[in-house]
């Protein structure tokens, strides 16, 4: 009986304290803005740079800070006469860590936040940022729910899971038809948490209608250090296509075990494959990686800026991974919004982001147009590992090579 009352009072309490916090933040930052003609605009750069996701987080931070350095070298935000000052934050690979970082960034008076990386972190962080009306740009996080909860402050420049999965299946069907339908059977190897099992469920529901028979779906935990049994099962059923849906370590191990046990299907085709379109994998295990296809985030290989960035990243001894160019593009998008807003005011930045038609990024996307925070132009591409390099094979507008399918025996 007391529950509704306590709920209401808790909500009121949160509202009032939230308002209080916003007001306090306003008082803290307002003088600095007044004083700061030509002073820096603070931008929160939030990534999981420690913990389980630290590699991806560090790559993301690299991309974001490279963009900020370039913008500053070119004179900063001209409409404000100010440079961008990065306020770095560590989400510690957990949603709680992300929230704590947002709180301290808010106290530091940032104008907007870029980053998050993992869906779980993005989900939590977007909500915390919304409490302060703080514009938040998701760098990677693909869960569809990140942008479907009606948060006005949250924007995602990259594609969501639904679009990626649909593109992946459409492209698989197109590849198969183009080659004269050599593939009829499929086996799915998926890690058993949300990402892998969600994808496996989706593929199981959609592939039969598109002319593929799913022979078996094999889930495995993360970490798994032995894929012998899984590969033996694949060997026994001999599917035309193997679809792995797992993270980097397991992906590499599965591919290497398949190579070791001489299992060669007509294609290894992955969706957001943990290693399938990673230069690290290709460099370290070229034989296991050869001919693997992936539907994933990728840069526009025909964009000179994207290639210049690639060279710059590789000159630093780093791998040019999707975290780098997605963060790079997101920061550029934010800088464009800052120019058009002509202010570090959070509401004005949010409005400028919502009406963005930014085209100066490095991604293979269509025209930028945000609907409920999601960029409608965002799309994944299909890549294939060919001759120790990763080539775009679909869509034709961005392709740098013709697909090799089926794999040569």
């Amino acid at each position: 009986m007391s529950l509704p009352y306590s709920n209401v009072s808790r909500r009121r309490f949160l509202q009032s304290t939230g308002l209080g916090a916003v007001a306090a933040a306003g008082f803290v930052t307002a003088p600095s803005v007044l004083r700061a003609q030509g002073a820096a605009v603070k931008v929160g750069v939030l990534h999981p740079v420690s913990g389980a996701l630290s590699y991806s987080g560090q790559q993301g931070r690299l991309g974001a800070t490279m963009a900020i350095d370039e913008i500053n070298a070119a004179g900063g935000i001209k409409a404000l006469g100010a440079k961008i000052e990065a306020v770095l934050g560590d989400a510690q690979s957990t949603p709680d860590g992300g929230n704590a970082a947002v709180e301290s960034m808010n106290s530091a008076g940032v104008a907007a936040i870029v980053g998050g990386y993992a869906s779980s972190i993005c989900l939590a962080v977007s909500q915390t940022a919304a409490r302060y009306d703080l514009p938040y740009l998701v760098d990677v996080g693909v869960a569809d729910s990140i942008v479907t909860r009606g948060l006005k402050n949250t924007f995602r420049f990259g594609p969501g899971f639904g679009v990626i999965a649909k593109t992946a299946i459409d492209n698989l069907v197109a590849l198969n038809e183009h080659a004269g339908k050599p593939a009829k059977t499929v086996m799915i190897v998926n890690e058993d948490s949300l990402f892998g099992s969600g994808l496996a469920k989706l593929l199981n529901a959609q592939l039969p209608d598109r002319g593929f028979q799913v022979l078996e779906t094999i889930p495995h935990p993360t970490p798994t250090r032995d894929f012998n049994n899984v590969v033996l099962k694949i060997k026994a059923q001999n599917p035309d296509i193997v679809i792995p849906a797992n993270y980097y370590n397991e992906y590499v191990l599965l591919a290497r075990t398949m190579q070791q046990q001489r299992v060669r299907p007509k294609a290894i085709y992955s969706v957001l494959g943990g290693a399938a379109s990673s230069y690290k994998f290709v460099k370290e295990f070229p034989e296991a990686a050869q001919y693997i296809m992936d539907c994933n985030h990728w840069f526009d290989p025909r964009n000179a800026k994207a290639l210049a960035l690639k060279k710059k990243v590789e000159d630093q001894g780093q791998f040019y991974t999707y975290e780098v160019y997605m963060n790079y593009s997101s920061v550029l998008l934010l800088a464009d919004a800052l120019e058009r807003a002509g202010s570090a005011d959070r509401a004005k930045i949010t409005t400028a982001l919502a009406s963005s038609t930014f085209s100066g990024h490095v991604m293979p996307y269509g025209p930028t147009k945000f609907v409920d925070g999601q960029n409608q132009g965002a799309a994944p591409v299909n890549t294939q590992v060919l001759a120790n390099d990763i080539q775009v094979i679909l869509p034709p507008a961005f392709a740098t090579a013709k697909p090799v399918f089926p794999m040569p025996a």
């Binding site: 058993d192 094999i218 889930p219 495995h220 935990p221 970490p223 798994t224 250090r225 032995d226 012998n228 049994n229 899984v230 033996l232 099962k233 060997k235 026994a236 370590n249 290497r256 075990t257 190579q259 070791q260 046990q261 001489r262 370290e284």
Partner: protein, 290 residues
Amino acid sequence: MLSPVILLPAVLNGLLTGAVYALVALGLTLIYGVLHIVNFAHGALLSAALFAAFFAYRLLGLDPYLAIFLLTPLFFVLGYLLQRFVIGPAAHGEDRNILLVTLGLAVIIENALLYAFRADTRTVDLPYGFTVLDFGIAFLAVPRVIGFCVALVVALALWMILNLTDTGKAMRAVAKEKLGAELSGIDVGHIYAVTFGLGTACLAIAACLLLPTYYVNPQVGNGFVLVAFTIVVLGGMGSVAGSLIGGLLIGVVESLSGLFLGESLGQIGIFVIFIMVLLFRPSGLFGERA
């Protein structure tokens, strides 16, 4: 599904994995057989040995198989010192104290590893890590075949030490009748420590055999020790032959249940066996006392 094309390789893979399980269990069973204590620190010591092998490779560039010759004596000394100066004195001759002391040691070692090296999972990449031998019926990974052979050799060596050397005779004497052994001039404290050292040395060898195909983190040993306890119970507490055969059996069971029940449920077969043995043959296959 039951085609021999996958059944046979699965059984062979299970045997290869089982041999390394057996090695971990050998250390455990030896310590139990002589000292009559259940060594809870076994898993943490295995983690420590894996880290040692990992850094021997990373920092000294020492191949894990060569590192056996460095780490085995090192861990023997470590085990000897632990029993002589920590476990023995802290136990005051009470079995339940020993239990708690080893448990405490496990907590300390694990957290020290966590503090020093963080929770990151690490692996090494060796050129032969993924080479296979073609046996016609199956492709078997070279590191696992090496692991299998070395484990058998170590089991044989342990059996010889126990049965053919004076120290071995003293160990068996202490195991059977501690007071009698002491009265006939055997230094019981020394023999205890030697036994603990041998058990720990087994872990160092197991760690070097595991490293090429496995990963390292501060908790990694625990997974093995649960399996090792099952093997010790299955083979009979304190029996070298029991550990070896138990280990091979458990390896095959794990491989087959992984194959039929899925990777997520792979280890369930092991624990079903554990419960069955406790219910129907508590002394194990080769146990001496009923």
